[in-house]
Amino acid sequence: MTDTQAGGDVRLSGISKNYGSFQAVHPLDLTVPQGSFFALLGASGCGKTTTLRMIAGLEDPTTGTVFLGDRDVTGLPPYKRPVNTVFQSYALFPHLTIYENVAFGLRRRGIKSVKKQVGEMLDLVELGDFAQRKPHQLSGGQQQRVAVARALINHPQVLLLDEPLGALDLKLRRQMQLELKRIQTEVGITFVHVTHDQEEAMTMADTVAVMNGGRVEQLGAPAELYENPHTTFVANFLGTSNLIEAEVVSTSAGKVVVSAADATLRLPADRCATAPTTGGKILVGVRPEKISLLHADEAAQITDGRNRLTGTITASSFIGVSTQFVIDSPVCPDLEVYVQNIERDVRLVPGARVVLHWNPEHTFGLDAAQDIDAGVETVGESAS
């Protein structure tokens, strides 16, 4: 507690957690650089909250060590760690006023004159007028801000956020995401944020760790994860991917040529998660918004060198900025294509024959020896 202001990374070394015979978190090494906004993203039950609770000290790891800076804090109880948490349902003290809730941490550390700090903190989260209210008199969004203020006032080395926006409606959630990001930039404290909402993770975090089944599947900047997923889980969980099973025809000069049903596709070798071998299987992926859609009558317009597929529209849904099409193609029965509504082609209706084409640079390759649908259903759940 003496060096709460002192810096340092959060370092997890070989940390794991078992509940009886169930392994919630497999041995995990993770470094969160000081001052970064780090997100642990995954479906419920993937071990992300358990990992967070081990950093907070609310859960004892079965194996491994937690370091804050150079200090091993594995054995320290929560009240001795320079770490604060924003809980999922806020866990505000119902019998205390907002003022006393925010002052709680300062008072426990024996700080007598808290008035100025509490006032400043309440102003930061724009709740200055609510100091004397009780938590139940506040709306969900206000309670959420109190929870953030109550944690931040202690200037923790790391702020842990456990699905802090889960209880808010969509509009408020978007607003709070920006607000939290602003606060993080302003105070410069390391934030570790747990969420199942991929959009939330991508909007807010500098680095995202995608977790699945107690393991980190992939770690990186949001754009990097989105453009270059290394597993089918990441490809499907972050946004939507069209994955096509294909056979490698040739690899040369950094270009991989593959064939699937009637089509021949190309992709850059450096965007393959595993090195492709001629004659081997590969999963070829492309994001729905990278694909352009043309009516079959205009197929001649497509320039050479682009990947192309043919198919029939089976469904289309108009959602304002774009139209989402599902296309039945010989290589895949449900390819998704998002088309910006710039000039709408009235011929593109279910039943129409179409040609899909995209830049080969936008194609990525994944190891074929994995479940092609991993992470698909979980997206549906979190979207609902």
């Binding site: 507690m1 907070a56 000290g57 609310l58 109880p77 929560p78 009240y79 001795k80 770490v83 604060n84 948490t85 809980f87 999922q88 349902s89 866990a91 505000l92 003290f93 119902p94 019998h95 709680f104 941490g105 426990r108 550390r109 109550r150 944690a151 202690n154």
Partner: protein
């Protein structure tokens, strides 16, 4: 469509009015059985006792209402030590119940895990035996030179209670300590159950949040758990103190003539001396005393400020 929907009620305002009136009366119909019960078994006996307390006469000549309020004053001057004893014994038993019951309720609510239901059944289990039998059993437990009393004597516990005037020498039976022990035992479940309810519904994340905000476990208890369980503490102490202050079985079976509580006096006035006015007056004074004590207590505990 909306036009017909709004037009229909307008066409027959009388019917609608009747229906809404009936709907308004529903809560009162639901209240009726409870109100009847209270009138027959609480209000009427109360009025009857009130009139008895201002009557004079004897069993042979019959009692008449003479507005003889002197009975109250006489009862109070004669039996005030019994009132003091009642409040003192019931108060001590309530404090002991709280001290014994809180840790137990805490254990059942937070630490018992799968044993929780079994432990709750064990708390209620004594109710399956008659109140009288259980109290009589304590007579055996606390009997002179019995193992319990021997142990208490050997470890010096009785020296302390002797100093406090709760025991005399190396006896427990027929002393205030025996009465207080009996009261504590008999009313303990009434303390544990409300405490358990208020602790059990507490969000365990509040404890985690307090720990996360630098509160040691003892501070968490003082600043979070205890304040949030105050409704349970208040209802538990009331459920213990109020019946205990009117109890006479424990003083009758475990005490002596020096430990008689006001309940014993009322009982003997009603059933042995047959002085109904004095018994009724004593009952009303006891009621007033309990109301005053409870009012002061609730004001102090400040229940209206909780949650």
């Amino acid at each position: 469509m909306t036009a017909t929907a709004t037009a229909a009620p307008a066409a027959e305002p009388g019917v609608v009015h009747k229906r809404s009136l009936r709907r308004k009366l529903v809560p009162y119909w639901l209240l009726l059985p409870g109100i009847l019960w209270l009138v027959v078994f609480f209000a009427l006996p109360l009025v009857y006792q009130a009139s008895t307390s201002v009557q004079t006469g004897s069993l042979e000549e019959g009692f008449k209402v003479t507005w003889h309020f002197q009975t109250y004053w006489d009862a109070l001057t004669e039996y005030w030590p019994h009132f003091v004893r009642s409040v003192l014994y019931a108060g001590t038993a309530t404090v002991l119940c709280l001290l014994l019951g809180y840790p137990l309720a805490y254990l059942i609510a937070f630490k018992a895990g799968r044993w929780r239901n079994l432990l709750l059944v064990l708390v209620i289990a004594p109710f399956f035996t008659s109140f009288l039998i259980r109290t009589l059993a304590w007579k055996t437990i606390l009997s002179d030179s019995g193992p319990v009393v021997d142990v208490l004597d050997t470890v010096g516990f009785l020296d302390i209670t002797n100093l406090l005037g709760m025991t005399d020498g190396s006896r427990v039976l027929a002393t205030p300590l025996a009465v207080v022990t009996g009261l504590t035992y008999n009313f303990l479940p009434f303390m544990i159950l409300p405490l358990y309810t208020s602790l059990e519904r507490m969000d365990s994340r509040l404890h985690e949040a307090a720990g996360d905000l630098y509160a040691k476990p003892s501070t968490t208890f003082r600043k979070v758990t205890l304040p949030l369980s105050m409704p349970g503490v208040v209802s538990g102490t009331l459920l213990t103190f109020i019946p205990a202050s009117g109890d006479y079985i424990n003083a009758e079976l475990l005490g002596s003539t020096d430990t008689k509580m006001v309940g014993n006096v009322i009982q003997s006035q009603f059933l042995r001396v047959l002085d109904y006015p004095t018994a009724a007056a004593l009952s009303f004074i006891l009621m007033a005393v309990v109301l005053i004590v409870v009012t002061i207590y609730i004001r102090r505990a400040g229940t209206e400020d909780l949650v």
